[in-house]
Symmetry: C2
Subunit: 426 residues, 2 copies
């Protein structure tokens, strides 16, 4: 039985207890949320038996973040991907996706799963068409590849099953068109064969495989907007409605479901987008890529997406996919992974604090207390990235001082404030 | 006459015409906004006669950003400050503040003004207490220093005149206390002398100097929250109410007024903070430092503040002060200035797009069109920071290719989408 099926039968699993303990809530609460489809524990039975420490994803608990890694045909190196995984783990990613499209993808994937204590996702379509044009993709490829990856222990699959043939004309008016890789490949297949999306056609069979291993669906938005001008358009909404139907069908089959969302969205449209998904998909966890609040900052899209991600997580998303500074420009390297993870964690944490989830703000209060006390060691230790913070301070500090070059000793407001308080205390 | 006084007399000045042209609106509209106190053109008559190209600050036009530069006692170098000014100009700062507290501050300031086509602000208090304890500050120091700096051409002065003696007990319950440099210094003075804030006491005389040169007030929030726990507390609001009164008093004297705001504010409190200031200060432009939406990310506070800045500019602010990655850790260097300016511009632009101000989104649409067309040259040229974007692409690209390493040629969704469109077009 999947976590969902067990939750429905009032069974509190080991994974649910683990998640409850991490989040500081009752296991029964986690069970209820899973049974309602509002919380997902992406935990393939195979991965769960080995290295996985399960994580929960849902509105009722802390916001989670995902780091995309993976080789491309132009840059593939198993050891390099493992280093990226470790970088993502070091800086606090809650999940990773292996999006490899080059190299020995099976070896790379198995190696990552073996070394990942956090849930791992893939886009199985990618493997299906390595060394083969998309036009040759058939139903068997889909089912066989998904079964193989499920057996390998992948915890969640992105499936662009909601992108229908009848949605494609709606993208004609777009500025950027279809910018999801999976989405554009499937569009090409549908146009070539003049047939419905094959993932949609084999959806019930996919559910059977997913159920068997408890692989969670991550229903991909192949028609997500790739620029502000295309945000919240007819194509995006039409696909979301189909995803809403598929969410119910997967639930009926006992499968866990996450729903993927945009993309590039102006700041003023984020709340509306989040609420629409929560309504259409009946509270299934929303997993967003960004959203980027402007298109004009390639090289800094970890920032544009941290802005959108904070608003998204505040208004309805529960899972944020990181975006690295190299988005739109090249495959991220290890340092890009660090920057992407940190920016995304900032967004997730800022939203958790704003929502008052659990004791999220305790961390802020502890660090601020250390800062106000001029306790630099503790201040830097508590930083989200202690190494970087310490390096920046060390670059400009005088040795053995307890102040920094920002103001110097006499001008330090923290020091002045401390002396005022000490005087007031007497 | 100041810009405000002229606006009230229905005079459209050269500066108003310049601002109107830049914003793509009618000069008469700018005049109306200035007369209502809702728009400020910080333009000292001396600076305006020489190098200044005036900028407008207000809700009705595009959001502006400020970069803080200046030497500290531990790091002062006139040439270095000039390089920081040029870095700020290169990446699109709309204003700079010279916050120097070390070195030859007069020489540094005059040098910066001479080289700055954008408005320049200072916190005159800093100069008043160089080589002298704050306790020795007297009314004459305040008036003389302000007059001297006005004569030098400074366009706006931060004055923490709204922080009253009776507000100080309200900060006792705070986690971080008083973290504004000016605010903590004046608190120390008030406690030592057991007298009212001297800037408050000489406010009318200050207005006379400001009016003479048309230096704009930037009414500083000495009690701004320095951590999430202290946000939107009694002390902050009490000071804001006094600032609201001073805004009216300065207007009555014919002076232009900007109001300064927080600071560290949880994401969910930003809208409320912005609306409160707009109401209490009758629409006077709001100039915020951040706000930072979490305290836990020293080393990345350009990101925490870009998140808060976007929300702030969307809900009520019209002027964002940048925060650099080195905030809380040391004095920013040139590269920190670049990163701070870019992050702040992203926030300002994202808010302008969300608000639909002018033709802000045209930039996004142009870049996205170039991206969809695989027109890399134009794509990178249009980026907010073309150099950084090009460098990132070049680091991983194959020579002479029109694709990037992110997906490689065959997997490029933009390329697939282009071929779909070409097919559909036939």
């Amino acid at each position: 039985m999947t976590q969902l099926e067990q939750a429905r039968k009032n069974i509190v699993t080991e994974a649910m207890r683990h998640v409850a303990e991490f989040e500081g809530v009752e296991p029964e609460f986690i069970r209820e949320q899973i049974a309602a489809g509002k919380l997902v524990i992406p935990a393939n039975k195979i991965h769960l038996q080995t290295t996985l420490k399960p994580k929960g994803i849902g509105r009722a608990i802390t916001t989670k973040i995902n780091a995309n890694i993976g080789a491309s045909p132009l840059a593939s190196d198993d050891a390099g991907e493992l280093r990226k995984l470790n970088m993502a783990l070091k800086y606090g990613a809650d999940a990773v996706m292996d999006l490899s499209t080059g190299g020995d993808v099976d070896r790379c994937r198995c190696n990552l799963i073996k070394n990942s204590p956090i849930p791992m996702g893939t886009v199985p379509l990618y493997e299906m068409i390595i060394n083969k044009p998309i036009e040759e993709l058939n139903y068997d490829d889909i089912l066989q590849t998904c079964r193989k990856q499920a057996e390998q222990g992948v915890d969640f699959f992105t499936m662009h099953a909601g992108e229908l043939k009848e949605h494609l004309p709606l993208t004609q008016k777009r500025l950027a068109g279809i910018i999801s890789r999976g989405g554009s490949l499937l569009a090409k297949w549908m146009i070539h064969h003049n047939k419905q999306n094959p993932f949609y056609d084999v959806f019930d069979d996919l559910c059977d495989i997913m159920r068997e291993y408890d692989v969670s669906f991550s229903l991909g938005d192949g028609l997500r907007p790739g620029c502000l001008a295309d945000a919240t358009d007819e194509a995006q909404i039409a696909e979301l409605r189909t995803i809403g139907e598929l969410t119910q069908r997967a639930w009926d089959k006992g499968c866990q479901v996450i729903v993927e969302g945009p993309g590039h969205v102006p700041f003023n449209q984020i709340e509306k987008n989040m609420k629409m998904q929560q309504e259409i998909c009946q509270g299934a966890p929303f997993y967003v890529l960004g959203p980027l609040v402007t298109d004009v900052a390639p090289g800094y899209d970890h920032i544009t997406s941290a802005i959108g991600g904070t608003a998204a997580a505040f208004y309805g998303a529960s899972f944020l996919c990181y975006v690295t500074p190299r988005e739109h420009l090249g495959l991220p390297d290890e340092d890009d992974v660090r920057q992407g993870v940190i920016a995304c964690r900032i967004a997730a944490h800022a939203a958790d604090v704003a929502l008052g989830i659990g004791n999220s703000r305790q961390w802020d209060d502890k660090l601020s207390k250390a800062r106000a006390d001029l306790d630099w060691d503790r201040h830097l230790q508590l930083a989200m990235d202690p190494e970087t913070a310490r390096k920046m301070r060390d670059q400009t500090q005088l040795p053995q001082t307890d102040h920094c070059t920002m103001c110097g000793k006499d001008w330090c407001s923290v020091r002045i404030n401390k002396s005022i308080r000490e005087t007031a205390g007497k």
